[in-house]
Symmetry: C2
Subunit: 334 residues, 2 copies
């Protein structure tokens, strides 16, 4: 391993001088020696030791990305939204010259542990961490950026999207296409801010049009027999004609079950998703869905993170990105 000292000896200077050069502290070292040292470092294949750096400077160029680990059987990155966001984030963070650590967390204690143990410069939370936010902020005095949080904690730096508006867009589009009896498919909304807001926006527009969403038109994510539920919805004297899902992933399930039951999309059932994952363009029929710009979200997240790392005491900031409707082929005009 090549150290500053090795280079210093070869160059006939002190290791401090080398350190200064390696850190680009221009103006403090003469052009000449600077050039010379750079050349020697290059030749010797010098790689700075980040651990030593972190130890001495009490900070590291390291960002932690924290993902919720539900249970050990479930792979968090199998969710395309999550992996897409993480992938974009990693790209941005690399551009900023930081390294990225990936952490799955199950309970609160793991989070603080991992952040502290590596002296990370900042952290990005992907998924639901609402309950622990207050404590996290108290225990970790580094920039923490949350995403899609609807925590009641007010002083929180968050990047989210206009979920409510997304729900409205879906409902408006259904109405515009003549649908009057629609359904919703997603996880229990009560404990999930994202889902709840999407649902509320959806319902609010319907209500204004004099349409209510009866209990039996909610299908819960955990349902055993999704196909059966779809068939039930689409039959009877007042059949459902459209279903809004809280995520594209859910829409794909609907597609699959509808196919198995012989329900045509959009002929028998129209579908609107949420996210606009790349797969949504590819499914048959292409999915009409509420689009969020995941790439931009990652970019904004990273920008915010860097700002917070570089300037102390920035005020909490909650950024809400726009959504739009990607109109494709999964909704029928009635």
């Amino acid at each position: 391993m090549v150290t500053l000292k090795d280079i210093a000896e070869k160059a006939g200077v002190s290791s401090m001088t080398v350190s200064r050069v390696m850190n680009g502290k221009t103006g403090t070292v003469s052009q000449q020696t600077s050039e010379r040292i750079k050349k020697i470092a290059q030749e010797m294949g010098y790689v700075p030791n980040s651990s030593a750096r972190a130890l001495a400077s009490r900070s590291s160029r390291l960002i932690a990305a924290l993902l919720q680990e539900y249970d050990e059987e479930r792979n968090p990155l199998e969710d395309s939204y999550t992996s897409c966001f993480l992938g974009e984030l990693a790209l941005q963070i690399k551009k900023e010259g930081y390294d990225l650590m990936l952490h799955y967390v199950k309970d609160y204690s793991e989070i603080t542990y991992s952040l502290k143990s590596w002296n990370v410069a900042g952290a990005v939370f992907i998924g639901m961490f609402d309950e622990s936010i207050r404590k996290l902020q108290e225990d970790n005095h580094i920039p923490l950026i949350f995403t899609d949080s609807y925590s009641s904690v007010r002083s929180i730096t968050n990047v989210g999207i206009d979920d409510y508006r997304g729900g409205e867009l879906a409902a408006e589009y259904f109405l515009k296409n003549g649908h009057r009896n629609v359904a919703f498919y997603g996880p229990e909304a009560l404990d999930n801010g994202v889902v709840m807001h999407r649902l509320r926006g959806f319902v609010s527009v319907l209500r204004k049009a004099g349409i209510s969403l009866p209990q039996e038109n909610f299908i819960n994510l955990g349902v055993k027999d999704l196909g059966g539920e779809l068939v039930r919805l689409c039959s009877g004297e007042n059949p459902v004609t459209g279903i809004f899902t809280t995520a594209d992933n859910c829409a794909y399930q609907v597609y699959s079950e509808a196919y198995r039951k012989g329900l045509r999309i959009p002929g028998d059932l129209s579908v609107i998703g949420f996210d606009d994952l790349s797969m949504s363009e590819l499914v048959t029929p292409p999915l009409t869905t509420v689009r969020q710009d995941i790439k931009k979200k990652a970019l904004v997240t990273c920008e915010l993170l860097m700002k917070n790392i570089n300037t102390a005491d920035r005020p909490a900031e909650n950024i809400v990105l726009n959504v739009s409707l990607s109109e494709r082929k999964s909704v029928q005009k009635l």
Copy 2:
């Protein structure tokens, strides 16, 4: 920040004693003091400083996952195979008590840099790194696990699958179902061992059955008008009836373009994919595909990594996992 010294002072012992307790060096510290120290550490919220550890011990409990970064516009984790594998790997690595660092790499120098700078204990390469393997091994004397490599370097630790057999399975299934004129869709095979082996296996079975794959039945991944190509294949006097794609992702594209062109799957064109991503069960019709067990692959990778970390000088080992055919609905019996 709570340090060993802080605990030591409170407990009235030296920091070495605390260090021993924190590292579980049982037998070297009396039960009594051990218990007492543990309690104090707990109370004070002690978190070991990994940087200091890494520096002092010249090793870290850190694994690097390296992903190929093709260009800055392309998100490596948008590929479901990659994100799925990474996700499973992260799960396993966490179970082993290691932390995971995610690195995108464009060229060789970045790799060694990131490995050395953090003193990582081992690294997993996801994607094509064939050209740099030799140099990587020379420069980094830590366990390096490659995946899906067909490098000509013989002493390499690799976890892959039987790509050739996968190609055979696809061809056999086509033949069994009466298909005699088939096509292939994927990237240029020449520089990609994985694709090449899948293709070779495919072709070999066809050849044994007296069937050849003419040049015009190869569709290149980068083609501008995939839909047009499909239409071309499926028309004429001797139309293609089945297409084998080198990855499920490619099959999804075929689905999409076929749909746009009014080609029915499997009515007009049968499709066989490769990977068996979770989406393949959900598409319409469900995709018949060569299955690889990504979870197992990640598990084996992690096991191999740990073995290599814990015991020096293990011989190179190339593990080849089985593939199988997931028979679904995208191939028609002729």
